[in-house]
């Protein structure tokens, strides 16, 4: 009897239209689930030399052993594959909430691994242990060419109102590099361009319905744990959400409702209590109003633009924080004035940070989103690949250097909670050294699973947070928490900078390893990993909660230390895929710094690049990675039980060619 996991992963080959299953037990408990299993399968099956839109790319839609259980945050899904948004494309990850992940577990599968490319547009229908590849252009289910909302509605009409759907929109069909995989109106796997991978595979949607449930090893234990576990997130002010609902509804009247994903205790966004619409425009289903937005538009216009973005299946984060400011920068440098007859709005003063860009009109946005989604015209076609690729193509490449303000370019994603370009909150030197380290070694914006957890905790809980608003926990208490959680008392000390590298590299690594657990178990990255708590006497959060949840759900007696080692194993497995298949090395890691050489947006402090290299050296050393190449060493891989990876990745004696 399997507990936690359903025991089967669905494998779909769209080229031959065949279905089979993978035994989950092959990969657990060593790789936990979610990202861990996908990383391992990618290592075993993804050969070097494959591009994001190639038939050989594998798309993973993964859940974990906690998905669909009572553990808060257990509705999430991890999406992996070679990601077209990154420049160049590399194996990366994205995740989404909603109800789909739990439904897949209830339908009897721990994940779906999608190979090949269908000869005709198809969708996948999964229900209670069975799966079918179906025609996406048939009279009854003519979903190809539709937006994600229409696709969801049509598939629910066919398979029942409780069917959960993930889909790509028109943007995915035209292989936009910034196309998302959308579920319902409020959730998407946004970063990485995985909607474009679906489109390239001619896979329009995956519809799921399940009634089978997830068996757990210790029902009473899980119940007790979930009833009494903390509901604190990354801020000392979260937790009492009844109060939050009342405050919010009092402040904005009944026009706004809190919103959250399925199977989660923490609300994380808002929706308009009524469907939004512009004068003379269509009425739009209410969409989630947090995390990103077309800022400084009216709430109605913002909701309509967000809904258009979700329906076409586009990455609004990239449009709002990447493409629009980049176009304004290009105009400031005389490269462009208007698009399709619409004048690009431009601020008077130079754009140094995201906050300096000005909001476009709803009309401009409507035009821009539509052109991008359908690849219409020169601009629409170029910008559908994201600003990062468009800059190489438009204006004879003259706009490309302007991107340095906005992106670590190889990721094609704006930095976030890193103190520079400026999406996310404020974070002050030296605390932003940790996120920059995480940026250097990751394949995507590490904010969602690693940076947020460090930056928000240190900013919002600690008195000495290097910023103007001290948190509620005194520096002395923070030293105690730091010693307990990270094994070093000085991690949150705002006076320590480059000269004590371990103070930066310990949290960078700790959060990356924990992030792998969050992404593999799967939990919500807004709730985990926790460091501080306002509910315990010594302000240390329950850092063993993951092991407790894992044990009650799966029955495997792993300690938190065992589980942390699994996190490190997964992190190294992902790195190994990146090294072997995509040539990842120290040079690539350091290339991320292009976006962080400017003074910080909140403190004006500039990164000392020479001394930062010392931090990266220490990061490698502490990781057991070779400092010359940035590759995981054979010794460390073997210590993690990745002997076969170590054997394949051994650095030749003459060294590798970096470049």
């Amino acid at each position: 009897m399997t507990y936690g996991w359903t025991g089967k992963i669905l494998r779909v080959d769209l080229t031959s239209e065949t279905l089979s299953t993978i035994d989950t037990a092959r990969y657990v408990p060593d790789f936990v689930g979610g990202v861990g299993i996908a990383a391992r399968i990618a290592w075993e099956e993804l050969v070097p030399g494959i591009g994001a839109f190639d038939e050989g790319n594998i798309l993973f839609l993964m859940t974990g052993p906690l998905t669909g259980t009572l553990a808060s945050g257990a509705g999430r899904v991890e999406v992996l594959g070679i990601a077209p948004q990154q420049n160049p494309a590399v194996f990366s990850r994205s995740s989404m909430g909603g109800h789909w992940g739990a439904e897949l577990k209830y339908a009897g599968f721990d994940g779906i691994v999608i190979h090949g490319e269908a000869a005709r547009p198809v969708y996948l229908w999964v229900s209670d242990g069975k799966a079918e590849i179906r025609d996406a252009c048939s009279t009854g289910a003519n979903v190809w060419g539709k937006g994600t909302y229409g696709t969801t509605a049509i598939l629910r009409g066919i398979h029942g109102p409780q069917t959960r759907v993930v889909a790509c929109g028109q943007a995915g069909e035209v292989r936009s590099r910034i196309a998302v995989i959308q579920t319902e109106t409020g959730n998407a796997a946004g970063q990485g361009g995985f909607g474009g991978v679906m489109g390239a595979k001619r896979l329009k949607a995956v519809a799921v319905r399940g009634t089978q449930g997830v068996r757990v090893a210790d029902p009473q234990g899980l119940m007790d744990l979930c009833m009494h576990s903390s509901r604190e997130g990354q801020s000392p002010h979260s937790g009492n959400y009844r109060k939050w609902i009342e405050q919010r509804q009092g402040k904005d009247g009944p026009s706004l409702r809190l919103k959250k994903c399925g199977f989660c205790a923490t609300p994380c966004s808002y929706v308009n209590a009524e469907n939004a619409g512009l004068p003379n425009g269509p009425t739009i289903p209410s969409v989630a109003l947090q995390c990103w937005g077309y800022e400084r538009l009216s709430r109605e216009a913002d909701a309509v633009m967000r809904a258009m973005t979700s329906d076409y299946g586009l990455n609004g984060w990239e449009i709002s924080y990447g493409i629009i400011p980049w176009l304004q920068l290009c105009k400031q440098h005389g490269l462009v004035d208007s698009i399709e007859g619409f004048t690009i709005p431009m601020p008077e003063k130079p754009i140094l940070y995201r906050r300096d860009a000005i909001p476009p009109s709803p009309e401009f946005l409507e035009m821009l989103i539509g052109k991008i989604a359908l690849r219409e015209g020169e601009f629409g076609d170029a910008l559908a690949d994201g600003a990062c690729y468009a800059a190489e193509r438009l204006f004879d490449g003259q706009g490309a250097p302007l991107l340095d303000r906005i992106y670590p370019r190889r990721a094609g994603q704006t930095s976030h909670w890193t103190g520079h370009w400026g999406t996310g909150g404020n974070i002050y030197f030296p605390h932003w050294l940790v996120p920059i380290l995480q940026w250097c070694v990751d394949t995507r914006d590490p904010a969602s699973d690693s940076t947020h957890q460090w930056a928000e905790h240190v900013l919002q809980y600690v008195a000495g947070n290097a910023g103007p608003r001290p948190g509620p926990i005194s520096d002395e208490q923070a030293r105690h928490v730091s010693a307990t959680v990270y094994g070093h008392p000085d991690i949150c000390d705002p006076t320590l900078t480059y000269e004590t590298p371990e103070v930066k590299t310990i949290p960078a690594l700790w959060h990356s390893h924990r992030a792998m657990l969050v992404n593999s178990l799967i939990l919500c990255d807004r709730e985990h990993s926790r460091i501080f708590s306002m509910l315990t006497e010594d302000h240390v959060a329950d850092t063993k909660i993951m092991a407790k949840l894992f044990r009650t759900c799966t029955g495997f007696e792993l300690s938190q230390d065992d589980l942390d080692r699994a996190g490190e194993r997964i992190w190294n497995q992902l790195r190994a895929v990146d090294v072997r298949n995509f040539g990842r090395n120290r040079t690539v890691d350091l290339s991320s710094l292009n976006a962080f050489v400017f003074p910080g947006k909140d403190d004006g402090v500039a990164l000392d690049q020479e001394r930062f290299v010392g931090l990266l050296d220490n990061y490698y050393e502490r990781s057991g990675w070779d400092p010359a190449t940035g590759w995981p060493t054979r010794g460390r891989l073997e210590a993690l039980g990745l002997d076969d990876v170590g054997a394949e990745l051994t650095v030749p004696e003459e060294g590798i060619v970096t470049g």
């Binding site: 009572l70 739990a102 319902e184 009634t211 449930g213 757990v216 899980l222």
Partner: protein
């Protein structure tokens, strides 16, 4: 159960009830999972005694469907009318209108009799065995902390009202 229609009938023991406040419900469905975990030992909203109906495309508050523990339980009368040893009984301790799965014959009389059927159905059918088994909210009979759904609800959208505090 003997009902003599020439006499004023004696009502069965009253039950407590789970009161719902849909404005505070954010459709996380943790109640559904907690319910199935307590009753079935697995996480399975399909087997939950409480159901949350909502649509992401409709911004209104969700519907919370759970047994009202009626003072005059049509379900219990229907079961008793058909069977000498009725599965649907009034729990002597809590007063909860409860289905004994050992005794359920799968006839469905309770579901048909329930005034909430079909628009707001609160009696479920478990088809996993060879015969259908009907199930409904029993207020987590005997659970010291009260109904699991009430305890887990992060928004406090659910409240347990004991029999003596219920309106007539």
């Amino acid at each position: 159960m003997n009902l003599n229609l020439n006499q004023k009938p004696v009502p069965p023991k009253r039950s407590g009830v789970i009161a719902v406040d849909r404005e505070h419900c954010l459709a996380c469905r943790e109640c559904e999972v907690a319910c199935s975990l307590y009753h079935e030992g697995e996480c399975n909203p399909y087997l939950s005694r409480i159901r949350i109906e909502f649509s992401d495309f409709d911004p209104g508050a969700p519907s919370i469907l759970v047994c009202k523990q009626c003072d005059w339980p049509a379900c219990a009368f229907a079961c008793a009318a058909l069977w000498d040893e009725p599965a649907l009984h009034i729990d002597p301790e809590s007063g909860a209108r409860t289905i004994d799965p050992e005794l359920c014959r799968g006839c469905g009389a309770c579901l048909r009799a329930c005034p909430l059927t079909p628009e707001r159905t609160v009696i479920g059918i478990d088809n996993r065995e060879r015969r259908p088994l009907y199930f409904k909210c029993d207020l987590c009979n005997g659970r010291t902390e009260g109904p699991a759904c009430v305890q887990i609800c992060p928004g406090e959208a659910l409240t347990f009202i004991p029999a003596e505090k219920r309106r007539r």
